[in-house]
């Protein structure tokens, strides 16, 4: 095992590790890392789970891995189309076990902002907006997000706007994995190339790190699955993730 672990692989692999046997798991729009994580879990793990996606896919076998995580190729090989209203209704009635949702800012309560930087009415940056979060985060059994940048800009003490409240079940960044504990995000593990002190310095909210340690390196099958999904490193390059 190499002693180096890229931030991109760290995020995708740790998102995949949230997937559990037999559960209904969903990846949505604007969500390349979770799309790759679900496809990685299908290849790397011995258990089965129900993979749904925003392209209507139900246990799909896509013939290629698309740049867009809502590309219709993600429904290829499905025996059914489970379209948008279907998967949202499934979620709100309690049938979505694991839902991956995007976020721009995350706070220590496991809430997210995908709406705006600055005042909503006088935005400094208008972000994509509500999306799935406000409805899926509170109703999915577990909701997990990721950030490609781990900093006090993205992991904040105070959100500019609360788009969705949960709490989140988990967060993966290039250097850390958080899980919910008692209504707060707690550190589960950190990237073996960084220190706990660095994670604290780069996180805007206070967190409990009891029991946390370095994240286990990718298993051979996890690493092989990601190489298979991204053979020429295109996704890795496009994601442009640094652990620094």
């Amino acid at each position: 095992m190499s002693e180096r672990w890229s931030g991109f692989s760290y995020i995708v692999t740790n998102l995949a590790r949230f997937v559990r046997p037999g559960e209904v798991t969903f990846s949505g729009v604007n969500s390349t890392p979770p799309m790759l994580a679900c496809l990685l879990a299908k290849r790397a793990y011995d258990f089965d789970f129900v993979y749904l996606n925003v392209a209507g896919g139900v246990q799909p076998r896509p013939s290629k891995i698309p740049l867009s995580s809502s590309d219709p190729v993600l429904a290829q090989g499905s025996a059914a189309i489970f379209a948008n209203e279907d998967f949202y209704d499934l979620c709100t009635r309690g049938g979505m076990d694991l839902c991956f949702l995007g976020a721009a800012q995350i706070d220590g309560h496991g809430r997210t902002n995908v709406s705006v930087i600055g005042d909503w009415h006088r935005p400094k940056v208008r972000l994509p907006g509500g999306g799935g979060g406000a409805v899926m985060l509170p109703t999915a059994r577990r909701a997990v997000t990721w950030r490609t940048e781990h900093s006090t800009r993205t992991l904040v003490d105070r959100l500019d706007f609360v788009t969705a409240a949960g709490p989140l079940h988990g967060v993966a960044t290039p250097i850390a994995v958080f899980v919910e504990r008692g209504g707060r995000l707690a550190l589960q593990s950190w990237h073996p190339q960084v220190s706990l002190a660095e994670v604290r310095r780069r996180t805007g909210f206070a967190f409990d790190a009891a029991g946390a340690g370095p994240t286990p390196f990718p298993a051979a099958r996890e690493a092989a699955a990601l190489r298979c999904l991204d053979p020429d490193g295109r996704f890795e390059r496009d994601a442009n993730v640094s652990i620094d």
């Binding site: 809502s70 907006g129 509170p138 969705a164």
Partner: protein, 277 residues
């Protein structure tokens, strides 16, 4: 072609379809991000210099961006807006909101859908799951009601959203407006039930007999549809499964602010091959 007496649907050129959209209309657009959006129709709105439109869509991207770039939009009601793929935010939309040139009603995709469901169901508002703890509720002055049947639970209710016109891009349609799509229908079904009028832009016309053989595959029955137009490759630069994929270089060209919008419009398939009747 004369109107079909039984339904009032007519097959018309794309330009005539766009001409039926008055300035200030509320227009719901089908598809999602770069996939099966009625983009040829949207470009035709721009060519006809429409103004003050309200755009309704759960996940717009290229469509709302290019309409903002051309100055056609006064108001947007949307869930998530982005170019997607690796393109990130929709730049002209973003600038239009940041400079307050357009008014945004920000939704979650499912709260917008709840409003559309209220319109489709013929009721003034519609409960929606979730939303608890979100600032969107206060921002939009949404109400919460207690279960009148005594469970003790509260539910957020979204007021009806009734677009003037829903426009969807489909794989095939009959001359009567019956429409079929391949792959996911995205949100197209609820849009076509909520809107006052429905326009269908099709990759191709199909014989009615083929639809009659498999009526369960029809997403929209023709009697709900006021106008049909044919625009091959009309979802360009997006995809229309399984006929064509996203044209990523064309999206990159579109996003290059140094390139004039007119050059992009001239490059579009419907400009090279005017929509056939």
């Amino acid at each position: 072609m004369p109107p079909t007496p039984s339904t009032g649907t007519t097959v018309i050129p794309l330009a005539d379809m766009a001409a039926r959209v008055p300035d200030g209309a509320s227009v719901a657009l089908g598809g999602s991000f770069l996939h099966r959006g009625p983009f040829a129709f949207v470009r035709e709105l721009i060519r006809q210099r429409k103004r003050d439109l309200e755009i309704i869509k759960q996940s717009p991207g290229y469509d709302i961006d290019i309409l903002c770039r051309a100055g056609c939009v006064a108001r947007a009601r949307a869930g998530i807006v982005a170019m997607e793929g690796n393109f990130g935010l929709a730049p002209w939309y973003r600038r239009a909101v940041e400079t307050q040139r357009i008014a945004l009603e920000e939704h979650a995709c499912m709260t917008l859908t709840a409003g559309l469901r209220a319109a489709a169901f013929g009721v003034p508002f519609q409960p929606v799951g979730g939303v608890h703890g979100s600032d969107l509720a206060a921002l939009n002055r949404w109400a919460s009601i207690t279960d009148p049947y005594g469970s003790g639970g509260d539910v957020w209710v979204i007021p009806a959203i009734r677009p003037d016109i829903a426009v969807i891009h489909v794989n095939e349609a009959t001359e009567h407006g019956d429409a079929r799509v391949r792959g996911t229908s995205h949100w197209d079904r609820i849009l076509t039930r909520a809107a006052r009028q429905v326009f269908v832009v099709a990759e191709a016309l199909a014989p009615t007999a083929a639809f009659e053989d498999r009526p369960e595959l029809t997403l929209v029955p023709g009697f709900l549809v006021q106008a049909v137009s044919v625009a091959p490759n009309g979802a360009w630069p997006g995809s229309c499964w399984p006929r064509y994929d996203v044209d990523y270089p064309a999206v990159e060209d579109y996003l290059d602010a140094a390139r004039p919008l007119d050059a992009h419009l001239e490059r579009a398939p419907e400009a090279a091959e005017p929509a056939r009747v």
